[in-house]
Symmetry: C2
Subunit: 417 residues, 2 copies
């Protein structure tokens, strides 16, 4: 354990019980609730100016080190130092088509292993080094595992990944190439999750599981800090930014919410964005709880082509419900067909999103149709992963290409000229 | 045609014949030689300080606009403004393993469509807008097409892509998702190339073909400018940097060479890097010419799993031979097995390269073994594309993952504990 804790304590999101930094690793020992990592905000504010962060030369998520619960991990020149720092796109044709004041898309596909999950894995691996973990393990539908495998490879940290055997081939290929020990299970994500927790306990491995390890949210909140720098810091509108994010196990939306809460507590923003969670109608456990008006997460039989957000039992459901409820946001449900259409729509402006990434944009389209956002709104959509991660799905979003003989006669015949 | 030419003239690399900016579009009208775009270096030097470029806020290749033959294309907030600006990695385990003074890897997989080719396509599309091209067309083994499709989508430019039907599925998926008209030909890259040239002539399309359109090299040279900023500008060693780059049609190595020549002429570098071209032994037309001591490019029957550099008749062979010969470099030939091993080796430090990208690293390993580089050398290896582009190849580089039942008994049995 690090000698100087970088955070003051953990607090259970359900019962409020607090733990000291060296007391626990994962969820609340009483009720299994997700633990929030509580920073010592007054001290951070005293020791760090926002100007120092805004003028940092570091372009990755490590520019926010003063707001993270880990010490500087080093490893400059490795992919660990390239997590985060993703670009903000401003696709005018889509903005116009949707009739919005401003539309931004934050492209998380530019992360080292090509998904948002690198943010979580970078911070978890930094934590693993601090506590001198022998092995880091995670369950994953693919992206979290690829991210852990990539960040572990970057620092020479042994890693074990459990994934359902149905994970897209590109994601499995990534896991293997990054040199992790990969074990596919003849079951779904949830069965891989349970097995990972047991294996970690039995073998003394450090478990990165999403919605279980409190540090994943701390990595993911860095995207909120970037949105602050890229958008909020410059904005003059007094209407809240409207943020669309796809939701599977609920950890990304919880991470974004945590980041904005940190910024609000620091006094660096005055207003929370409205956070809109978008789920596939085939994997809607969190949206169901939101619409039921409570926080009780009832498992579903998930069935959606958006594999990254296909989850029977979301592991960070309660905080995910609150992220929308406490910020004036809501949940939206979209069909797989709408997700495929969103892949094609984003592609036409040069953005290649995986299904879970396009889900957020599909949610925006639905929100516009239903008047949940209007022409005065500034909207930011998170694209959580690169389309190269799942080309099987991409091919369903488009018509196949014709094959012709390589001569002008065949070409003209095909073109009908 | 633009009213104020951004370059003084073209010059044929074979016969030296010069053309004015509005006189030609493609290769030399006399002998078909590749045309170099000649900048007015004295004027550029007079009007631009190197300090202004070094302190530019633009992070993409457009920071080098004063050294490019196109006007500022605009399109801020689109993928066109994200081409280039790729990170430099410094993998210490590989540096140590190879016994080099310094080893850098420049990761071109971070480009918008995940390959080096975005650099060329960004500048060609900017040119296409200047000359008000109705349609841009290219032949491609996949990456150049994906790059053109992405950059065209970014600016709303209609694009047509011809690719061999054997192109990796991920690359075809990219082409289609970006909304280009995609036509697969029942033939190889060379037959797609010829058809593209004919179609461009007959239909009045603007042809981006590599080694045919002079602007591709001008886009690709931006990587040399970045190497100048990221490495050469800070270096104190008086030994030349040694640069490894994979070679297919010869256009990337020619682009890098052109960039360094521009910098030398500007007086911003004093010494050229040694440029080492690496070809697959199954696609060695340019290396063959280099080793024969002349510039005559004799076509081969290409056969390598590195599809991006599998070319029967390289279209930029002469300049590619010169890039190594004029800089004290050489050519290296590597087997497909070595390319697959290089994919796995790079993966273990968190870098996922496609076969053509890993080829350069395989060349470095061979060069170390043969004493072509030594412990005093600083080496930079270009990874030209993201491994997600070709997972079929990646899966050949690794052992498949086991599938087990999701319980501890099965796990322990697999682990042998």
């Amino acid at each position: 354990m690090n000698s100087i804790p970088r955070f003051s304590h953990y607090r259970c999101c359900l019962c409020g019980k607090e733990y000291s930094p060296d007391q626990v690793f994962y969820n609340c020992l009483v009720d299994g609730g997700n633990l929030d990592i509580i920073l010592d905000i007054p001290t951070i504010r005293k020791n760090n100016s926002r100007e120092a962060i805004l003028s940092s030369a570091e372009t990755s998520l490590w520019r926010y080190l003063p707001l993270l619960p880990v010490a500087d991990p080093g490893y400059h020149g490795t992919p660990l130092r390239l997590a985060g720092g993703t670009p903000l796109l401003h696709p005018l044709p889509l903005e116009k088509k949707l009739g919005l004041h401003t539309l931004w898309i934050k492209d998380e596909g530019k992360n080292p292993s090509a998904s948002f999950k690198d943010r979580a894995s970078a911070v978890v691996v930094a934590r693993a080094r601090e506590i001198q973990a022998s092995t880091v393990v995670t369950a994953s539908t693919g992206n979290a595992g690829a991210a852990l495998a990539c960040m572990s490879a970057a620092v020479g940290q042994p890693a074990v990944i459990f994934a359902p055997k149905s994970a897209p081939p590109a994601k499995v290929a990534q896991l293997l190439v990054f040199g992790a020990k990969v074990i596919l299970v003849d079951g779904n994500y949830d069965s891989a999750f349970d097995l990972t927790v047991q294996a970690a306990e039995e073998f003394g491995w450090y478990c990165r599981n999403t919605g279980y390890n409190p540090f994943t949210v701390e990595g993911k909140k860095s995207a909120a800090f970037e949105i602050w720098e890229q958008v909020l810091h410059h904005r003059t509108s007094n209407k809240p930014l409207v943020l669309f994010v796809s939701v599977g196990d609920g950890n990304i939306i919880s991470g974004l919410h945590k980041g904005f809460k940190d910024l609000l507590e620091l006094g660096w923003i005055e207003q929370m964005p409205r956070i809109m969670g978008v789920q596939s109608s085939g994997s809607a456990a969190i949206a169901n709880a939101f619409f039921a008006g409570d926080e009780q997460i009832i498992p579903v039989q998930a069935n959606t082509l958006a594999d990254s957000i296909s989850v029977d039992l979301p592991r960070d459901g309660v905080r995910a419900v609150r992220a929308a409820r406490q910020t004036g946001g809501t949940y939206l449900l979209v069909e797989d067909d709408a997700i495929l259409q969103a892949i094609a729509t984003l592609g036409k402006v040069g953005i290649f999103a995986e299904p879970a990434g396009a889900t957020a944009f599909a949610g925006l389209q639905l929100a516009v149709m239903n008047g949940l956002v209007t022409a005065e709104d500034d909207v930011l959509v998170m694209n959580t992963g690169n389309g190269l991660k799942d080309i099987r799905a991409a091919m369903q979003a488009v018509s196949p290409a014709p094959v012709i003989d390589p001569d002008m006669k065949s070409l003209k015949k095909y073109l009908g000229v």
